[in-house]
């Protein structure tokens, strides 16, 4: 066959055009990743599978929703529901979102026998773990800070909250961040996003599966080596929250004092190093992780077993990890 110059040029140009089209349309879905500082932590949102402008709008709206929840539940904002509650002597009407968080918190407080507590505001201020000058309080100070606290210390009727005593200070620290993550995911879902992740300093909620269809791989921080992961959990959707004694702490006299207090003693819990909870939503995972940390490996796993769809990994004070039965097939070790 004789060489046909016009034909070969056309063929080469067509091939080139096809290559460029494939290069630019690609087979990768659109994605955006954004981060903000909200609730004193880095919040990272990744969203996939829609045009970039649409993803941008949805992610902005999700961040705005988390900031709104922070305005409602931060004890450091004088107009927040939590600050108003701590100041009040009588009943206080709170936002429906705050009421929802308090209802869930009271339920976990009751079912954990008081290992989770929404009324530790005074105790936390006393220790000042998150301030510049943390200190070990005297036993008398701790006794006074615990007076009137416990699962029965708050009454919730509809949106009205009544404290057991005027001096009680409410603290939603062990649950509000998880709730804010859930709200962000709800905003993304309503915006039509089918694949996304929200990670607020380790409180994670997944929306749908990953864009490539494989499960999400969640690395679990090693409680003693910051450069290592303890394990990887594979998940199609749901929430993962880890609470550990390495997150916020100070040392005095060779002892590590961290931020996960045992409400019965007023001192940091001593039975666990870290707890990871997998649950349908991050608010529940957040509260259960704190409660299971205080309860320790044995009673902690027992508490988690009472909740459908909830699994857990607890590293005891001896450094040994224990798993709930349902988590066994989902975990891989490095």
């Amino acid at each position: 066959m004789p060489f046909n110059r016009p034909l070969i040029i056309v063929l080469l140009l067509v091939a080139l055009a096809l290559l460029m089209v494939r290069r630019y349309t690609g087979d990768e879905a659109e994605s955006v990743r954004r981060s903000r500082l909200i609730m004193g932590t880095v919040v990272e949102i990744a969203a996939f599978g829609r045009p970039e402008a649409e993803l941008d709008r949805a992610v902005d709206a999700a961040f705005a929703e988390m900031s709104r929840i922070e305005d409602l539940m931060s004890p450091r904002r004088p107009a927040s529901d939590v600050a108003r509650l701590s100041e009040a002597a009588g009943p206080v009407a709170v936002a429906p979102e705050t009421a929802e968080v308090i209802a869930l918190g009271l339920e976990v407080a009751r079912r954990s026998g008081g290992a989770f507590d929404l009324t530790l505001g005074r105790l936390k201020s006393l220790w000042g773990i998150e301030t510049e000058e943390p200190r070990v309080p005297t036993p008398q100070e701790i006794r006074r800070a615990l007076e009137g606290t416990g699962p029965g210390a708050l009454q919730l009727e509809g949106r009205r909250v009544t404290k057991g005593g005027p001096g009680l200070a409410v603290d939603l620290g062990g649950i509000a961040k998880g709730y804010a993550v859930d709200r962000a995911v709800r905003v993304l879902r309503v915006a039509g996003i089918e694949s996304a992740s929200v990670n607020a300093g380790g409180d994670i909620q997944l929306l749908g599966t990953r864009p490539d269809g494989r499960p999400w791989r969640i690395g679990i921080q090693h409680p003693r080596d910051p450069d290592k992961i303890l394990a990887t959990v594979s998940l199609d959707e749901g929430a993962v929250v880890t609470s550990g004694d390495y997150e916020r702490y100070f040392t005095a006299g060779g002892v590590r004092y961290h931020h996960l207090f045992d409400p019965h003693t007023g001192y940091p819990g001593t039975l666990s190093r870290s707890v990871t909870v997998v649950a349908p939503n991050a608010a529940l995972a957040d509260a259960l992780a704190t409660a299971a940390f205080v309860l320790g490996p044995e009673a902690g796993l027992e508490l988690l077993a009472g909740y459908p769809g909830v699994e857990g990994l607890i590293v005891g004070a001896d450094g040994k990890p224990v798993l709930s039965d349902g988590l066994r097939g989902m975990v891989s070790w490095p």
């Binding site: 110059r5 080139l16 004193g40 880095v42 961040f63 992740s197 999400w216 969640i218 997150e247 490095p334």
Partner: protein
């Protein structure tokens, strides 16, 4: 096939390869992006060394870009957690100073290859 034919074919192939190389997406160059309250307040390429002071509510945080890596050299915040976070260099990695409201991340270039998608800690 004449010499002209060969030149045309080779020329087109060369153009194809060149345009492919020049227009490859996702290779915009690695850069450091600093955000405050959701707004980008500073951006610089990761491959040119420099030191920069950025203002936050507590004062000036000093960032150092050196050898394709970025770290916080000094900070007015009380606990200096941002300084203890070390250096970052890969796409998507973050440094944060919560008290001084600065979020520093690396964008562009190679994605950090890891054994996980998200870290729970």
């Amino acid at each position: 096939m004449t010499a002209l034919d060969r030149m045309i074919v080779l020329g087109l192939l060369g153009a194809a390869i060149l345009s492919f190389q020049l227009t490859a997406p996702g290779e915009a160059g690695e850069r450091v992006v600093v955000e405050q309250r959701g707004k980008v307040i500073f951006t610089a390429p990761l491959n040119s060394d420099r030191r920069v002071a950025l203002s936050g509510p507590l004062g000036e945080t000093v960032l150092v870009i050196h050898d394709g890596r970025v770290c916080v050299e000094s900070s007015p915040c009380p606990r200096k957690i941002c300084m203890g976070m070390g250096e970052i260099s890969r796409n998507g990695e973050l440094l944060a100073c919560v008290p001084n409201e600065l979020l520093i991340r690396v964008e562009g270039g190679r994605e950090k290859e890891g054994e996980y998608d998200l870290l729970s800690r």
